[in-house]
Amino acid sequence: MTSAAPPRAGAGGFDAWKAATLAILIILALVFLAPTVGVLLSSIKSTRDIALGNLWSMPNSVYLANYIEVLTNPAVHTYMLNTLLVAVPATIGSIGLGILAGYVFAKLPFRGSNLLFLVLVAGMFFPPQVILIPLFRLFNGLGLIDTLWPVIIVHIGLGIPICTLLMRNFFATVPNALREAAILEGANEWQVLTRVALPISLPALAVLVTLQFTWIWNDFLWPLIFTQSDNKRTIMLGLVSLKGQYSVAWGVQGALSLIATLPTLIVFLFFQRYFIKGMTMGAVKG
């Protein structure tokens, strides 16, 4: 059976399999990065440069007026602030509830808890279009349309299934003996969660914070449905509203697009050392 083994190069030798993997990864990276590079190039070109060249042409000089225009536009400040006002509480709310539910499902099971867990996770498979009109009518009835509240509430609700699933599965890997040891030391269930289970689960938390924050920050649908006035818009809606009726200010939009992605990038960079560990958790023992 030795001939069936995959060819393995010795130390320092050429490994065709590895090289092919690397090549594919590089091509994929380029494909994913290309649009961003295009937007970046547009954002540092004047309207005249954009009109004369194409998306990929290099600018004659770095033109920063687009950025200055975006950054000094009070409407952009409002969009950014609104998005933060939605993304931060909705991220905290959904993860907080996911932690509590996940802990109960993992460590304090009760009769029927597995079924309840299934029902909860099934919430992930609801297409938003199905609940769009009922939710609009609900929040309209509550008089909350054209405020940020419905966006926050809906994002918390929609985040519960994924947050619960992830936290439950992570808490399930925390040995029961740790919980019991803490209880013998006099900890109550809340202290077991906050002093033992959560600190051990930082990788899972980092993944969740990054996922939830990015998803909520980038969301277009729910703010579009629930807000109307310009001063309630989030950044993704603002991006569209910068488009004129007959013309598109490509340079300004490019600049705003890049600025709009900065917060998610910051969140990712801040949490990435846990994130990598979290993504591979459970993949290898130990």
Binding site: A181, A182, I183, E185, G186, V196
Partner: protein, 354 residues
């Protein structure tokens, strides 16, 4: 100093009864070992003392106080887990002081106590390390440290040595024995390893499918097992058991029809019994004195002695015989085996000692 009492303690998981009525009194300062095969209920019993499992019926009393429904932390107990159960995100000092910090004890007092405990266990140089930077034996010490710092009335050990290698196990065994004599605390220790039970215990409780088979000092159990289960379980190699029948004058006739063995069994003739003989009470004898003829199938050289395993028609299991280390018969040889020292155990048909 505290005693521990079980009054008719039972535990069921749904329709399954795991602990079937345990009555036991552990004296203050005593080292009691629960021993038995997997699933005999010994760990469940320990967890019931700790309060990690509820009691279905009956009563657990620690130091005169009924703790059957008391929360774990208020029972005055501390437990050392098989898996150590150290908190991986805390260093050794933080692990040991976890309970004191939860109780918001003054910082100076915590530092003082942690130092005292670290001194006892000789882990002072490890206080800043994380559990993953420690060896198995060091982790076990930290787990014990977390128990000591609570000044518990009763220490509970749940198979604390089974994750350690053989050499370390012997060392930690001595350490636990030393700790017991230094602290003088009541200790309850669960293991499936009868060597651990024999070496550590003041008294051993042999459990089998949720019931106590026998309680006694290690030598009582070794020399006077109450029934076949204890006879098989305590001692290594296990006691040799021969199916037999009582003949005239209380002598025994082994199953395969060899000549009667002289004994004084107080039972009617023709009663079926089991003759138990430990390996050190059998020897190679002259053919005339032999109780049976057996073929040597294997020999274990332990250095100080040799254990011969023989196949005999009289016993369903191989017969173990302790030989001086200088006696090395050939494998395959037929040997005449007889009683030496005259220590035998007779068990009735119900398995109980006669």
């Amino acid at each position: 100093m505290t005693d521990l009492t079980f009054n008719a303690v039972r535990k069921s998981f749904g329709p399954l009864e795991i602990v079937k009525g345990i009555d036991l009194a552990v004296k203050s300062g005593e080292f009691v070992v629960f021993v038995g095969p997997s699933g005999c209920g010994k760990s469940t019993l320990l967890r019931m003392i700790a309060g990690l499992e509820s009691v279905t019926s009956g009563q657990i009393v620690i130091g005169g106080e009924d703790v059957t429904n008391t929360p774990p932390a208020q029972r005055g107990i501390a437990m050392v887990f098989q898996s150590y159960a150290l908190f991986p995100h805390m260093n050794v000092g933080e692990n040991i002081s976890f309970g004191m910090r939860l109780a918001h004890q003054p910082r100076e007092l915590i530092a003082k106590r942690v130092n005292e405990v670290a001194d006892i266990l000789q882990i002072k140089h490890l206080l800043d390390r994380r559990p993953k930077q420690l060896s198995g034996g060091q982790r076990q010490r930290v787990a014990i440290g977390r128990a000591i710092i609570r000044n518990p009335k009763v220490f509970l050990f749940d198979e604390p040595l089974s994750n350690l290698d053989a050499a370390l196990r012997v060392q930690m065994r001595l350490e636990i024995a030393r700790l017991h004599s230094e602290l003088g605390a009541t200790m309850v220790y669960v293991t499936h390893d009868q060597v651990e039970a024999m070496t550590l215990a003041d008294r051993i409780v042999v459990l089998n499918s949720g019931r106590i088979e026998q309680v006694g000092t290690p030598m009582e159990l070794y020399e006077n097992p109450a029934n076949l289960f204890v006879a098989r379980f305590i001692g290594s190699p296990a006691m040799n058991l021969f199916p037999a029948r009582v003949v005239a004058d209380g002598a025994l006739q082994l199953a395969a029809g060899a000549k009667p063995v002289a004994a004084h069994v107080g039972a009617a003739a023709d009663t079926k019994v089991t003759l138990g003989v430990r390996s050190e009470h059998l020897a190679i004898t002259s053919p005339e004195q032999a109780m049976l003829q057996a073929k040597l199938v294997a020999i274990e050289r332990l250095g100080s002695e040799n254990i011969a395993y023989l196949e005999a028609a009289e016993s369903p299991d191989p017969v173990a015989v302790s030989l001086p280390h200088t006696t090395v018969p050939r494998v395959g040889e037929m040997l005449p085996i007889g009683l030496s020292g005259g220590v035998t155990h007779i068990f009735g048909e119900d398995g109980n000692r006669i």
